[in-house]
């Protein structure tokens, strides 16, 4: 029986919902995006879906489940729909390593890249110590990824293929690239972090990533937001 389309509550420019779309694309799962504005996420109707009032959330008519938090959604999707291990592993220890890198993306990349963007780009008053704190953390995280890719020695974070762990970083690294360019900190990054750069390039060649990055960039451009 063909799969019914998953409903995904997303946003034209936010990295976390688009991150889930990349995994949906990779797994060939049909989905509909319900685009929500940030002004709507704290309304009761949406709080019934996600008590935290944030994006993304999904409802899967194939199983009847409603879930929120991009990390929990991605784990659900691969658990339910990636039996062929196209972007995941069931073997030990790879299964746990992919979960570990996803947790690092959720707790270590997303929040800090988000704070860096806020202080460097949106907050009207420039607070150099806050900008430095978060931009340095962005670069530190890039260094951790670069080193891990070197250590694993396959071009990927886990095992010898591209997994949801790698893909989960892509939407925020796109934002980071735009931000670091604005701050004149992008120059030299390629030579300082060559494996990270190669890793991103390889991911950006994938159809799923190409398609979603384009949609996210278009959404941001249409609303006057930098990449």
């Amino acid at each position: 029986m063909p799969l019914k389309a998953i409903d995904l509550w997303g946003h034209w420019g936010a990295p976390n919902p688009w991150k889930v779309c990349i995994v949906l694309e990779e797994l060939g799962i049909p989905y509909n995006i319900q685009s929500v504005e940030f002004s709507e996420v704290k309304q009761e109707a949406f709080l019934m879906i996600n008590p935290n009032g944030r994006l993304p959330a999904i409802k899967d008519p194939n199983t009847g489940i409603t879930l929120w938090e991009s990390g929990a959604i991605i784990q659900y999707l691969v658990d339910q729909y990636d039996r062929d291990e196209r972007v995941s592993y069931n073997s030990f220890p790879e299964k746990y390593f992919t979960q570990q890198w996803l947790a690092f993306q959720i707790s270590g990349q997303g929040p800090y890249f988000g704070q860096a963007t806020w202080f460097a780009r949106f907050h009207p008053e420039k607070i150099p110590s806050a900008i430095d704190r978060y931009v340095n953390e962005v670069i530190r995280v890039i260094g951790v990824l670069d080193k891990a890719i070197e250590t694993n020695n396959t071009g990927w974070l886990v095992g010898d293929k591209c997994t949801y762990a790698d893909l989960s970083f892509v939407t925020w690294t796109s934002v980071a690239e735009g931000l670091l360019r604005e701050l004149n900190k992008l120059d030299g990054l390629e030579t300082r972090y060559p494996r990270y750069t190669e890793w991103l390039t390889k991911m950006e060649e994938r159809e799923s990533v190409k398609k979603i990055r384009e949609r996210m960039a278009r959404g941001r451009a249409e609303h006057g937001l930098p990449p």
């Binding site: 991009s70 929990a72 220890p93 996803l102 947790a103 959720i106 707790s107 997303g110 891990a148 972090y193």
Partner: protein, 274 residues
């Protein structure tokens, strides 16, 4: 101490299944999540206590275990005899229940709706409440020059996140976050135990306060929260002179601010995970 583990680690790697699990930790909210879970599941474990002042968490032997140079991390022997190093508190908790909690004491059977929902809450803690409370603590406690906007930003967001938890507890029938005590309670409780230090008052969140006391009454929590050393929060909150708080603040500030400066220095030299 670091040197002792360093020289042991390579030899230990080949010793096989008799080795107990090792927890690399410090007395922080993320560290005690794991010791509490280990106590709940009665898993034997050894503790390696990091020294953040000496920056043992950035030494090469440890970066081989956790390339992010943070705590917690574990080394464990899998059922096939091979070794695994894992880091990130959320992924360690998932590993522990999947490997050791066959009776679903702290989670639900894999593939069930309840278990998927459990991970919505777990990710909400590690990606939301954890980092934001951490930022609030940083700007309230570590930065000497007060930045009103940053304090307000992270105080408001942390309190908003607490109000999400408050509402969930108010509607829960079990008195816990989900239908029973789970790793999600452990995750949030470890953060809430440091709420007073961050600057959040539990007087504002009566449901959280009630739940906090209920969880604290569990013997495994009372034990696990004091790994690798006694939890400082009660001492700090009971100290009316404020002297102990001042000392603790100076200690925290010293390693955090020195660490940030060293990280920034390392970035210039392209030191991975500096």
């Amino acid at each position: 101490m670091a040197a002792a583990i360093h020289s042991n680690s390579a030899a230990e790697a080949s010793k096989g299944p008799q080795q107990p699990l090792t927890l690399y930790t410090t007395q922080t909210p993320n560290g005690i999540k794991i010791s509490i879970a280990l106590e709940e599941l009665e898993i034997p474990y050894k503790v390696f206590k990091h020294d953040f002042v000496a920056r043992t968490q950035k030494e090469p032997w440890y970066l081989a275990i956790n390339p992010n140079g943070r705590i917690p991390a574990i080394t464990d022997t899998f059922s096939d005899g091979s070794q695994i190093h894992l880091w990130e508190s959320g992924s360690i908790l998932k590993y522990l229940v999947e490997q050791y909690d066959k009776d679903f004491k702290l989670w639900y059977p894999a593939g069930t709706r309840e278990n998927y929902e459990l991970f919505s809450w777990l990710f909400f803690q590690i990606g939301g409440l954890g980092p934001m409370q951490g930022q609030m603590t940083h700007f309230n406690r570590h930065v000497t020059e007060k930045i009103p906007y940053a304090i307000e930003r992270y105080s408001n967001e942390t309190r908003r996140l607490y109000s999400v938890l408050e509402k969930q507890l108010a509607t829960s029938q079990s008195g816990f976050i989900l239908s029973k005590f789970t790793i999600v309670d452990i995750c949030f409780w470890s953060m809430v135990a440091a709420s007073g230090w961050a600057g959040v008052s539990l007087a504002e969140f009566p449901e959280i306060h009630r739940w906090y006391e209920k969880v604290l009454s569990r013997p495994s929590v009372a034990k696990g929260m004091n790994v690798p050393e006694p939890h400082p929060i009660q001492v700090l909150m009971d100290d009316k002179t404020g002297q102990k708080a001042k000392e603790f603040e100076e200690y925290s500030r010293s390693w955090v601010m020195t660490g940030m400066a060293k990280d920034a220095e390392g970035l210039k030299k392209r030191d991975p995970a500096c």
